[in-house]
Symmetry: C2
Subunit: 330 residues, 2 copies
């Protein structure tokens, strides 16, 4: 402790001197960072270094000196000042509780986050993309997968695959298979008691949507364990996190006004229709995600990264994601 106090005193004096020298070189109209006398200032600086809760204030003081030092015109003087500045910074970082710095990290998650560089050779690159309707998330996911030469899965594909797996088990009757072949799978089906009863039996009493969710979860885990892929939606991020399978989780969104514009153009909708459609989809997405994950849909703390696609456009968003992945990959 004595040792530590002596070190702080020495550093405080060096900071005071550096401030004086920088001021001398800059001649800034803003004056010195420390306007009090040496004794008071050094005492205050020591207090900041030793009292953890205010460490960030010390950092701001130093940053202000550093900012001024960078404006020094004379190259040699600037170099000298910045060298001393760096050296002080480094020594403060050696102190216990320097700047009150405490890391923030969810180790169980970070260990499974490939963009955090923790991926082993045998792990796969699995990119989970959640998105708001109209933010071009699907276009981005599809093209990203295509450029990375990895598989792409969205809700249509999952439904087809799940239907096939079921058909294999012989539990889908011919009428349904016929529908399927004729593309009527894209048509919404209305509620029928007969269908409901059949499904009740088929899914062992679980509501159909829950049964589908659990089948989907299995499928997603199997995929992520065996291949590189992009998975759109389906709460894949939460499913993989729960199963401790490495993945990247992205959320793609854009301001409502731009999503409306785009929806009007891509779906030939009127303004009011597009607005109603987007609001409804957002509600559905939120309900589904919140229900099955217990996290909050569309909140930055529920994903690794959220990207505002409107601030980049489709092409640049893909580039951005590739940059994030690339340098850590292989």
């Amino acid at each position: 402790m004595q040792e530590n106090q002596k070190k702080c005193l020495e550093l405080a004096n060096r900071i005071y001197d550096l401030d004086a020298k920088v001021y001398e070189c800059v001649g800034s109209s803003l004056g010195r960072t420390f306007t009090g006398n040496r004794e008071n200032t050094v005492q205050n600086l020591c207090m900041l270094m030793l009292a953890k809760p205010n460490g960030h204030l010390l950092r701001s003081e130093l940053a202000l000196i550093g900012n001024m030092a960078r404006t020094i015109q004379d190259k040699e003087a600037r170099g000298q000042m910045l060298t001393e500045y760096d050296s002080i910074l480094k020594e403060i970082e050696q102190l216990p509780d320097s700047f009150g710095k405490v890391d923030i990290v969810d180790l169980s998650r970070a260990r499974l986050n490939p963009t955090a560089g923790k991926l082993s050779e045998k792990d796969h690159l699995v990119i989970c993309i959640s998105r708001t309707q109209g933010s071009a998330g699907n276009d981005i996911g599809f093209e990203l997968a295509d450029e990375l030469h990895i598989n792409y899965y969205d809700v249509e594909i999952f439904n087809q695959v799940l239907n096939r797996l079921e058909a294999e088990k012989g539990s889908v009757n011919d009428a349904e298979a016929e529908h399927f072949a004729d593309f009527d799978k894209y048509r919404k089906r209305s509620f029928r008691l007969k269908t409901w009863l059949r499904e009740f039996n088929r899914y062992h009493g679980l509501p159909r949507q829950d049964a589908v969710f659990f089948n989907m979860s299995d499928l997603i885990c199997n995929l992520a364990r065996t291949e590189d892929c992009v998975i759109m939606g389906r709460c894949a991020d939460a499913i993989l996190a729960n199963n401790h399978i490495p993945h990247i989780s992205l959320f793609i969104s854009a301001p409502f006004s731009l999503r409306i514009q785009r929806t009007m153009a891509s779906k030939n909708m009127e303004l009011r229709q597009a607005s109603r459609f987007l609001k409804q989809m957002d509600r559905q997405h939120k309900k589904y995600y919140d229900f099955y994950t217990g996290s909050r849909w569309g909140r930055p703390e529920s994903y690794d990264l959220c990207i505002n696609s409107a601030n980049y456009g489709i092409r640049e968003t893909i580039d951005l994601i590739e940059r994030m992945i690339d340098q850590k990959r292989k």
Copy 2:
């Protein structure tokens, strides 16, 4: 139009053939993507290609074929299939309204977004960081600035600079200057009528906080026009966007439970105290941001990028930001 229909018919036939060939090579238990006969399938595919609103369904069908093709064991056959797949994809992209693809881009913003690669030589690299309390946003911002050798500005520094600029104008009296020198600037001041009256005059009748905000805005614009820097908070992203000055806007957050843990460690707080503190800070940040920007604080659509620092840790978050910037820089 005739021309277009003929092209679609040709592509639909090629897709049908590719599916058949891929199935032959894979022998997948999942069967073919298209289980109907050629005539029906081709007709349906043409419909998808010509009818814009369902373009994404066509893309999913193709992706499913592509996914299967990638599983073909025989290298030569796989290569052939994927070449044909790529060629079909490219030709569909040439079609008008292929896949119903419409870009999403806020041109006025994207043009000013350096990570979108639109920065000119004379523009500066200005990184605006908003963050939730306890997510280590300040540590990340400070170290990022230090590594990039650019200036760092946070609220403490802004307050000091603004105070000095005011002092220069002679409008701060000696008693205040004395306070300042003695580090009492860190102590909260209680409301006093005399102070209020003096401030009312000084700020031409504007509420003090609005006057401070406008001074701050000017300062931020000047900085961003003249130097590379990291700016913490202060709605800098919105201020710069309104003034058409290039910048990157980041939001750093982390799950509440991790922010609590970190706050307890860094500020020596009890659980309940930390929880109350974080909630209060979030409310204040939100109120300030929403009031001065008209955007919504902490929502992905209000920033370029949101980063969950807990999924990376401080070091990896900085690396991530540097990767995003680096490859577009110079």
